[in-house]
Every structure is written in structure tokens, then in C-alpha cells.
Amino acid sequence: MNTSVIAIDNIRAAVARRPAELAVARQAGKKVVGWIGYNIPEELIHACGLIPIRICQGGDNRLAEIGANYISTQNCFFLRQCIGLFVERQDPYVRELDALATDTTCLQLYRMATLLEHYFQTNVIFLGVPKNREVPEADAYFTQEVGQFLSQMEKMAGRPLDEGSLTRTLKLFAGIRQAITQLYEYLANDRPLISWRDVLEVVQAGYCLDRAQYLILLQELLGELAERAAAPCRTVERRVRVLLAGSLIARGDTKLITILEECGARVVGDLIWSGMAPFVNLAVKEYSLAGLVAAYYSRLPHGAIPHMEVDNDDRLIVLQELAKKTRANGIVYYSLRYCDPFSFKVLCTKNAMKRIAVPLMEAQTEYSPEDTENLRTRVEAFVEMLDCAQARREWQDE
């Protein structure tokens, strides 16, 4: 990790302080609502005066094994680890939860949440998400579901949602999204001072930090990066530019990024659900509840939402655009074993990227270390392949 950027150190320090802050806040009567999902309108949690915390820890095979005792070994590792977190209750964020919100975008996740309800008496609040948008009733369904979700947030907060509070929250979150977008744009430049690993750390810091404080820290970071010069030119070998896509790389899941770095690839961006993807196409046009619902309804769809046409699949279009914008040489498509929404789409995504001449490699893995060398060989071979192609292109340009 990059330690020469002061703002990142500050963010890290804020994250370190956060569990203690949460404990104090709860003692003072504040309520904490954790959430795991892909369409939870976090803004509503915040606007009701509750503290939203996105639960997104991964990479711990031990916890995944514990979780598998409740769910099964044929379920996604991330979800297994989630259960493991609730079994042990050692995680400071899980300990401080008053409720857990989840949505039905990913049905494995929904199922996992029903287990948390049953085995650990977790107060789970569900939000239904429609997957068939061809019928107008889908919009009405989502609107009603969000309405019901809001009622539960209001009940927890002990007061109805204040319009002014909602407006302020929506502006705040819009500011955060804008800052994150700018951070990713910076990352794709030549010779950035920070790496993708740093950016992911910053993005995921936002899952737990006080949101107003987080925006300030983000702005400080952007300011510092703008003020400082680019990283010095080094006589290094040509660096391959890689874009990451797929499901999610949770906090603590460092296997792939470590291998990529060791192979000499530079990750210039991502479209994963623990990185950039939640911020894509999420634009609240009207600062109201209706505006928020409309924004979430039309955001970039998660892989678990089926789409039957290739030509107008936003996921593919956005990925193609991002690959071009970041000048990626190739895409590493990350999925966890048993994550069906993403692993079933590999071939189609690969073919779509072929149309813009960007190779794609699937990196399917899990949290156990057993397949590390297998994954390393694959990633290294892919980087070699891209490197070779890049060398040929440069030779032809000469």
C-alpha cells in the first residue's frame, strides 16, 4: 500500500478509529444498520438518522468454512464468510449492528440472510428487487418495497423521514459518488501516485466511515493528488494495463490483486460490486424519495438480474466503454466459486470484449489458498500474452 499520500493515511486512521466511534454512538442511542446487497438505498438509512455500515469482508477461508456448516459448501465463499462473521461476532461492525438490511437481487444472498435470521436472531430487513422490468408493475413493486423499507427505518429511528434530511443526504451521497468517479479517473492516468489497491481501500473505507467525514477525506485526497506531481518515470518494463470486472472483491480478499501486482500488471480500473460498479449510472435527478427510487431502479444492473439481449445489455456496454476509456490491454474477470450470476456470463462477456479487441480472462477462485499457484499461473500467462501483444503493437507503430 502507498504510504506516501497523507490523505490515504488519514483515511486509514479514520477507519481504525471507527469501531470505537460506533460503540460510543450506540451508547448515546444511535442505531446502526448494516447492509449486504446490491440495491439497498443506503441514503434512506442515513437520512433517517441511522448509521449505515456496508458489511463486505472477505478472504478469510476459516470463516468461510465455519459459515459452510450453516449454509453449504456449494454456496458462494463471500456469503459463507458472512455467516462465519455472525457465528463468531468478533468483527467490530457485526457486533455493533442493530439490524441488517439486505435485498433480493442475489437470491443466494437472500437465502443467507434467512439463515442469519434463524440461527442468530439477526433483525433482518428485506427489500424486494424486481428482476423483470418489462412490466410497469415492476416499477410499482420496487416503489412499494422501498416504501416499506423506509417505514422500517423510520420505526427504528423513532421518527418519520424529514424531507430536509433526505435532500441533504442525497446531496452528500452525490458528492461522494462524484469524488469516487474522479478518483477512478485519476487512477487511469499515466503514472498515478496511488495504485488500484489504494483506491479499493479508499472506496471500501466509505463502507463504514461517517459519510460526511468521508466526503471531506475524499476531497482532501483528490486535492492532494492534484497538487502533487505524477510519480517519477522509472526505467521499468512495459506495464500491462488491466481492468477488473466481475462480482466483488471484498475487504481482506487480496489474493488476486497481490498476484496481479507481482506479475507486473497495473490495474487501471474496475467494474466490480465492491469497487466502481455501485456508482455507475446511479444518478439521482430529483432530490426526493421518488427520485431516489428511480435512480436505484435504473442503475447498472447486477449480474443476478437476467437480461436477454446482448446488444442493449448495459453491463456489457459499460464494460466496453470503460475498457476503452482506461486504455486497458485486457480484462480479468473475477468470480468466486459458486457465484452463478457471474460465472455463467463469462463467455458472453468475453465475446462482447472480443468485439472491441480486448482479451478477457476468467479468474475464478475461492478464499482458500490452495489454488493460489494455479491462479498465479493463469494470471501470469495472461499478462505475458498481453505484454507480447503490446510489444507487437509498439513494434508495428515504430
Binding site: 476468467e362 494455479n374 501470469e380 505475458e384 500474452m385 507480447c388
Partner: protein, 267 residues
């Protein structure tokens, strides 16, 4: 073949999970090859085989222009000038041996790969098995222990006219007990063995489908020496497999040596 005087010499070392291979190569061609079991310490096997080929070629280490290491044990090859993955090395090696190769199937002890090449022998695409022994040499070893025959005999028996009995299990361990049940049911060993090779070939074909099979198909790795596997693969992929005199187990090391010759090593 002897190295010509003043000719450059390059060595490729392939440290696999079961065997370590090396090829010494010069612009005139292949000078010498060697293969030894990998053993517990891959680094030791790598050094040992390097010494072997140098001795056979009657040259010292100083006379070697570059060494490239590949295979699972490449991360321990500090004696190498560069490490390159076996995917790239197999591609280069197969292309060297048969320039029309466009698809390589490599079945090793622990993994199975399908590689697509361009006309210059560069990797265009590849796919590998996930964390599972099905479709690898390990699967065949387990089965040979059930039948108490050698791998070569398995291949020969599977070539008989007996009708195939499908093996349904995707797990190596469960396939073993499925085979025992089939034997108890009265099925012939030849039929079952046909099913075993077909099961591996189907697994490979599933991996191959992810990237497509194109042009001449080259089969490398130790399992390529098994006639039963070659026949099953040809049947499932519905195309002939390129047949050469060269030991398919040495293709990775050869490719590494050829890649070593392409390195611009700073003197």
C-alpha cells in the same frame, strides 16, 4: 546433436509437479534433453537437471547464454535468467515443432490446459481446469491403481472393440467407486477404460469449448503418450491430433529454451 563452436546455447527448464525436464537448444536445433522425477524440493531438481544437460552437452554454465524456467516450480528457479509460465512455453514449443499448430491440449499430472496460438506461436487465448483433479493425469493414476495395470496397458485395453460404458462422476474419488460398482455389475474392463478416457476427453473438451478449437491440434504433456487418451481426444474433439516423434512431455522445456533464445539478455 552437438552444439557448433561459437554458437549460442540456451536452456529451458520445466519443473512440473511430477517430473522436471530440460532442453538445451541452439540455433541449429535441439542439442540435448533430460527428464528426472521432481521430488520434494523443486529447486534441487531444477539445478540437478540443469547440470545434467550441461554435462551431456559438454558445456559449462558460463557458456549458456540464457536459461528460462517454467512449470509449477519456476518460482524456485533462482538460477534462471527469467521465469515464464508453461502456457507461453508450451505454445512456443509446439509452434517450433509444428508451425501449423493453432490449438494445444496439455494434460499434466495436476492440471489440464487448452491453448490457442496465433501464426507466430504467441498465445492468443487459453483456459485451464479449475481446482479439480478430474481431467488430469492424476485421474488416470487413480484408475490404474483400481485395475492394477500400468497406464500404457490402460491405453491399449481401451482401444479394443468393446462398447463404451460412460463414467458419470465428475469427481476423481467418486469415479473410483463408480468403476468398482461397474465391475461388480459385470461390465468389462475394456469398456470401463474406454469410459475413463472418454470422461477425461469430455472434460478437456469442456475447457476447450471456452476458447474454441482451431487449426492443427497438438497434444502435449505426459498423458499425450497414452494411446487411449489420444484416441479419445480425437473422437471427442472430432479432429486428428498432430503426431510427432518428439517426446510430448518435453514441449514446455523446449518452448522455454526457444524463448530463452529470444531474450535480449544484458551482458
Amino acid at each position: 546433436m552437438l552444439k557448433k563452436k561459437n554458437e549460442a546455447l540456451f536452456v529451458g527448464v520445466d519443473i512440473g509437479s511430477l517430473t522436471t525436464k530440460a532442453v538445451a537448444y541452439s540455433p541449429s536445433g535441439i542439442i540435448v534433453t533430460a527428464m528426472i522425477p521432481t521430488g520434494v524440493i523443486p529447486e534441487k531438481s531444477g539445478r540437478e537437471i540443469l547440470e545434467n544437460v550441461l554435462a551431456s552437452a559438454d558445456v559449462s554454465r558460463k557458456e549458456v547464454n540464457a536459461v528460462v524456467a517454467t512449470g509449477y516450480g519456476r518460482i524456485t528457479a533462482e538460477y534462471a535468467d527469467k521465469t515464464i509460465t508453461e502456457i507461453t512455453c508450451h505454445a512456443k514449443g509446439a509452434h517450433y515443432l509444428h508451425a501449423s499448430t493453432r490449438t494445444i491440449v496439455d494434460i499434466g499430472g495436476q492440471d489440464c490446459k487448452v491453448i490457442r496460438l496465433d501464426e507466430d506461436g504467441n498465445v492468443a487465448d487459453f483456459a485451464m481446469n479449475d481446482k479439480c483433479a478430474a481431467g488430469t493425469g492424476r485421474f488416470l493414476e487413480v484408475i490404474s491403481q483400481v485395475f492394477k495395470i500400468s497406464l500404457e496397458e490402460m491405453g491399449t485395453l481401451a482401444q479394443s472393440e468393446a462398447p463404451l460404458v460412460p463414467i458419470n462422476n465428475t469427481c476423481t474419488v467418486f469415479a473410483e467407486s463408480e468403476i468398482i460398482s461397474l465391475l461388480a455389475r459385470g461390465e468389462r474392463a475394456e469398456s470401463i477404460l474406454k469410459g475413463v478416457f472418454r470422461a477425461i476427453a469430455s472434460r478437456v473438451s469442456g475447457i476447450a469449448a471456452r476458447i474454441g478449437v482451431d487449426g492443427d491440434v497438438f497434444f502435449s504433456g505426459g498423458v499425450a503418450k497414452n494411446c487411449g487418451m489420444v484416441a479419445a481426444l480425437e473422437e471427442v474433439l472430432q479432429c486428428p491430433i498432430v503426431s510427432l516423434e518428439f517426446d510430448p512431455q518435453l514441449v514446455g522445456a523446449l518452448g522455454a529454451a526457444v524463448l530463452a533464445s529470444e531474450l535480449r539478455v544484458k551482458s
